[in-house]
Symmetry: D2
Subunit: 414 residues, 4 copies
Amino acid sequence: MADLRWPGDHRAGDHLTDAELIRDMLRVEEAWLAALVRAGVAPALAIVDDLESVVGAIDPQDIAVQAEAGGNPVIPLLGLVRDRLADDHPEAGRWLHRGLTSQDTLDTAIVLGLHRCVGSVLELIDDQVSALTGLAEHHRSTVMAGRTLTQHAVPITFGLKAAQWLHGILDARDDLRDARDRLPAQFGGAAGTLAGPSLLLQLTDGAGDAVSLARVAADRLGLPWSPPWHTSRAPITRVSDALTRATDAWGRLARDVLVLARPEIAELAEPAEAGRGGSSTMPHKVNPILSVLIRRAALTAPGHAAQLHLAATESVDERADGAWHTEWSTIATLGRHTVTAAAQTAELLAGLHVDTGRMTRLVESAGSILLAEQRSLAGFVGAAGDDFDPTHYLGSSDAIIDAILERARSGGSR
Amino acid sequence: MADLRWPGDHRAGDHLTDAELIRDMLRVEEAWLAALVRAGVAPALAIVDDLESVVGAIDPQDIAVQAEAGGNPVIPLLGLVRDRLADDHPEAGRWLHRGLTSQDTLDTAIVLGLHRCVGSVLELIDDQVSALTGLAEHHRSTVMAGRTLTQHAVPITFGLKAAQWLHGILDARDDLRDARDRLPAQFGGAAGTLAGPSLLLQLTDGAGDAVSLARVAADRLGLPWSPPWHTSRAPITRVSDALTRATDAWGRLARDVLVLARPEIAELAEPAEAGRGGSSTMPHKVNPILSVLIRRAALTAPGHAAQLHLAATESVDERADGAWHTEWSTIATLGRHTVTAAAQTAELLAGLHVDTGRMTRLVESAGSILLAEQRSLAGFVGAAGDDFDPTHYLGSSDAIIDAILERARSGGSR
Amino acid sequence: MADLRWPGDHRAGDHLTDAELIRDMLRVEEAWLAALVRAGVAPALAIVDDLESVVGAIDPQDIAVQAEAGGNPVIPLLGLVRDRLADDHPEAGRWLHRGLTSQDTLDTAIVLGLHRCVGSVLELIDDQVSALTGLAEHHRSTVMAGRTLTQHAVPITFGLKAAQWLHGILDARDDLRDARDRLPAQFGGAAGTLAGPSLLLQLTDGAGDAVSLARVAADRLGLPWSPPWHTSRAPITRVSDALTRATDAWGRLARDVLVLARPEIAELAEPAEAGRGGSSTMPHKVNPILSVLIRRAALTAPGHAAQLHLAATESVDERADGAWHTEWSTIATLGRHTVTAAAQTAELLAGLHVDTGRMTRLVESAGSILLAEQRSLAGFVGAAGDDFDPTHYLGSSDAIIDAILERARSGGSR
Amino acid sequence: MADLRWPGDHRAGDHLTDAELIRDMLRVEEAWLAALVRAGVAPALAIVDDLESVVGAIDPQDIAVQAEAGGNPVIPLLGLVRDRLADDHPEAGRWLHRGLTSQDTLDTAIVLGLHRCVGSVLELIDDQVSALTGLAEHHRSTVMAGRTLTQHAVPITFGLKAAQWLHGILDARDDLRDARDRLPAQFGGAAGTLAGPSLLLQLTDGAGDAVSLARVAADRLGLPWSPPWHTSRAPITRVSDALTRATDAWGRLARDVLVLARPEIAELAEPAEAGRGGSSTMPHKVNPILSVLIRRAALTAPGHAAQLHLAATESVDERADGAWHTEWSTIATLGRHTVTAAAQTAELLAGLHVDTGRMTRLVESAGSILLAEQRSLAGFVGAAGDDFDPTHYLGSSDAIIDAILERARSGGSR
């Protein structure tokens, strides 16, 4: 499922699609059933090894349409699943979802999808880090004009610029790892007390308490347990902030590419690929379309993240009256857009064309401006003015590149 | 196509779906072809009466995937259409899109979709206005507690509250009508000069100039002409601001319903319908789910509108480097959500249950508080305190209701 | 009072400052007192001709600190004013604010400030329209490269670019005029019923009803009457949307200037002024600082407007529980920033330096690319290829300029 | 300096005021001077022990007005400081700011202010944690109605609700500590290469390199060093995201208080204080004004945070063309509002009145609804229905409270 209005969206693959959400909800129910059985609450017959294949194909549209009545897709999904289990797996059908509430299923399913989504982003970031490490090393001595407020400033190297791009990406990597690792399962029952599963344990002489039941189910899903967070939405905002930190970093480098690939500057060019960057009417056009699409994602991510903070703060009562409902679509859109932009950025960086000749020629022609600060400082300390050369006015560029590369190598640990 | 993550989305029908966007792009191309023929630029054989059926089924997914290369769906769509026209309509295939640029096709197609979308919202607003007019009239004398900063204030009537809800909707109606009527076709060519069509007219001795050509095409689509607005995006922001003004009004009334339908207050209740408002675990639950879903839309619309303003201000050069690309998905999401919320609001208002008994009993029990201002003012002017009755402390409620109803009746003309 | 963190803020003068807000609140109270007297409710002695000077200097800080207790600045202001009136104007002190509520005073005072603020913006827009009209006329034949997605496209004229800038500003002018003219006084009393003033009229045998009283007070302030809009916030969002439409238009042109003033392009330059655009360390720097500051305002306005829409939709009950309180600071910040940006844009446009030589040289050097579409279309119709000249490939630029200039001259009336 | 439009702003004290920003800029310059002297670059005479007192009073308004020319307040501040140092501290005047750029001074000054601001928030969070720990413990067995989607759900305890409030605050505490500890000094020179200080070291045979110079200056300011982050703005967005996570948590609990303090529910009440919560016309009113003001902050914080992400992603070149300029005012506003809301939340929680009688009576009257899930589950497993008591249907509430309290006690370590 690609979004016609978001070119490149197919790069996100089946991350956070409707079909995947349904699969994730089934996984959550399956894990919960298994936990009920293991605790001796439900009979062994209630276990279903592969709920998804047992249940068979589900039309997301049917679920979507029926979702309005209860305000979420869990209720119609459960109805359909119970119907399909009735004949061959009656105990599974009977015990399905017992002790849970819709929010448990939906939140945990969203967490599963986000976990994979952030994982994909992190893999693509590894590719970016690798490409940028190479660019920073390779262009350590490639002098180019530094630009501030659009005007020529002092010389820098392209290696330093690449290292600065990397700097931002490493900041995002830290936060993405942290946010992913802190994505917990949600098992709280109707109002976050786990009263339902506790009662079931009590009435069936089950083993352990409801928290241990929840831990078992979380563990099966590969997620940490946490106190119910039905109204404490930091796990969601932490991910959305981290995803936005990533698009911040990519959008910034894309904007640099968009400037430096302007024909009057032409110091950088996007990797060439047949058919890419074309126009519907101008045959000569080779637009820097990867950067355009990356920047597009970066311009929209902050709004999505803000929306999720608003949802967090409007989480009134033991389940919010509308705020929760805004999260599902927002985080899925942000997640898909981020994977897409991650892939586009990785491709951009892997094939970025650096025209060192153009960089050098500009530095030569703009030399006197680029050295104005140097002359001024030399004059200030009364030094003779005979060594004015942009390649000698690069300060600690090397040391700064090294510091950033070291951080990249050390895995960004803090 | 309903969105699993946005329950109720199916109410938006095929508004602003991928399939509809493709149809609208075909309509734009068809209108342009017809204008080229009418001006004598293209031969009569280039005309195709019903481009959509001639071209046949198009898989939006194919177009979506190919859209990445050029950064928009027009280029792959044209390729596919030309292929399909090649055998039976070679002249149409040859002349397709000549003189246009991708932005012309996509912007005008989006405008066509928005035009219908706003039209649907306006029809549903007519239903809302009708329902609210009835409520305001019927409950003109239904006294209830006014509440400010959550606390009891002075008496109001439910008719006045309904009229105030209406007040906000009439503000939105004005703006929606205005925004819809000012949605122009976009025909500017590669950089907004109409140079392509001008050249074609000149080389083929066609009739008229490129502006008249554009007017003809716009007219066929039922849209006004405007100077190209490829970088002046007020037509889009005007619609998104107006849609947001509508969700502002509905969200506010939904939040009132959510408060007044709390079991401790219970002065209002949503229209009952079997299965609606249910829970996956609590059999007794009847949640005010229409209001929850309406409020959800209202919480997200402002962010979408802000995104479109950001796109407008980032419209650099003669076509923006990413900002334009953020518009398509944002306005479509906002448009669909608004139609959905419009329908839900119309349904909510048509069946809203008003418990006048609860209102009366609260006014009686809270009487002394609700009359504190009255006593204070009476004391201030030294009046005897023997007529303290909430039903006598309603001020100009009737006149205010009348003023708002009059505005509703007069069509909200300004 | 200039904002150290918003350079150029002093251009907004005393618009929407704390001191001005206090003055406006006093004007509202004075108008209401006068209306009470005219209706025979309050004695003639209650009238105060110039409440501001009678009351004397007021320290906004004192009011600000005391404002927390009641959540708004009206309550402490009234306390202070009553104290100061006690000796010499006891009747005025006694009758002050009778029948009003804090929101009446504060909303109407904010409206007064916004009315002047939008007026200032409109005056500065007149200057902008004048400058742009001149640029569009003067550079009607100044050919330059059109750029799309950052790359050279087809030729345009700088006159057309100026006209397109104007196009966006005229859209904003329409909306600003409309929004200003629809800014009403707020007089609704404790919960929007005007019960307080109605009671006073009744107990004192005053003339007319409370609506006519409100109309008299509104009229004294030069504002239209409206049904109370304490919970229907379109008057505020209409202004903020219109202000944002203005910053959209200015931000877009500022971003164009920032691109075209890059040293590698250098087709435009900001008006020179001694000391402007300097750096703290690079003596040669002349940064395009007006454009930088204008763009800054444009990047922030959409967020402010979204905030006000959120406040509108959260206007629960008869006075909101926090949403209303977010409006005051948001609209004032947006208003001041907009005046500042309006002045900076007017200055930028009045002195914009257009380097027609650079434009011409680029068109010559990039000629073959700029004419790729022309060649392609000519080849398509089999025309001989001997008239490929950028100055002959400008299409309807003149007609489009004329259409926009005509709109400017006709006052943008709709 | 309190903000008249943001009641309670005085609680933020002198955090992030204009005057404090000026002091912080002076501190940065002083630290840099000291580092230059220590490295042997500048003569010992260039050191000034207390630059702030040497320079004397500075009118922020003067600086603000002059800030427009260069687009930031550093340039005029340096001019003024140099003037004042000229006579008595000529060497300090000569060496002031040598090797730095405006962004170094301004970014580091903002970091200093943010560091203190977050520190204050964390202290107030300690108070909140203490109050909530007490509430969670004390009301561990206070049964009340759980509410989902505004309707009664299953029983909870008020202790659990308090623990959930705490849960969100602990999430924020983690992030605030982390963000504060990662706020680095900014020392990069004109374009992030430290070329200026490197040259000065070289020409004066100074000790060490420019990075060690920067480390010394950072150390004097109590800040960690980092590679220059002039275009990698994670240090800012990390703080703003964390501040927003805090307002998310407070806004959510304030919204709970606003619901539960409604007169029809009245299970909670704000701490009483003479004069607080009053109305300008209704003498009986006691509005929950702390919660109103806290919620206000929470509704606006997400927009500010989004603005800072936008600035981050627009950080083009080696200094951005407008985006950087949006940060100063945005982060200061967000910072002040957060301190204010932190203080209000601490006060609210310290004196929150819990009406356990009301809670109990509601649970009794709504018992059958609150136990619907329990009956349903008991029926499901065929259990006899004789122990239906809300106080026996609290599931793992105690264990969940304990888990959250344990996290609070362990210092929120991760």
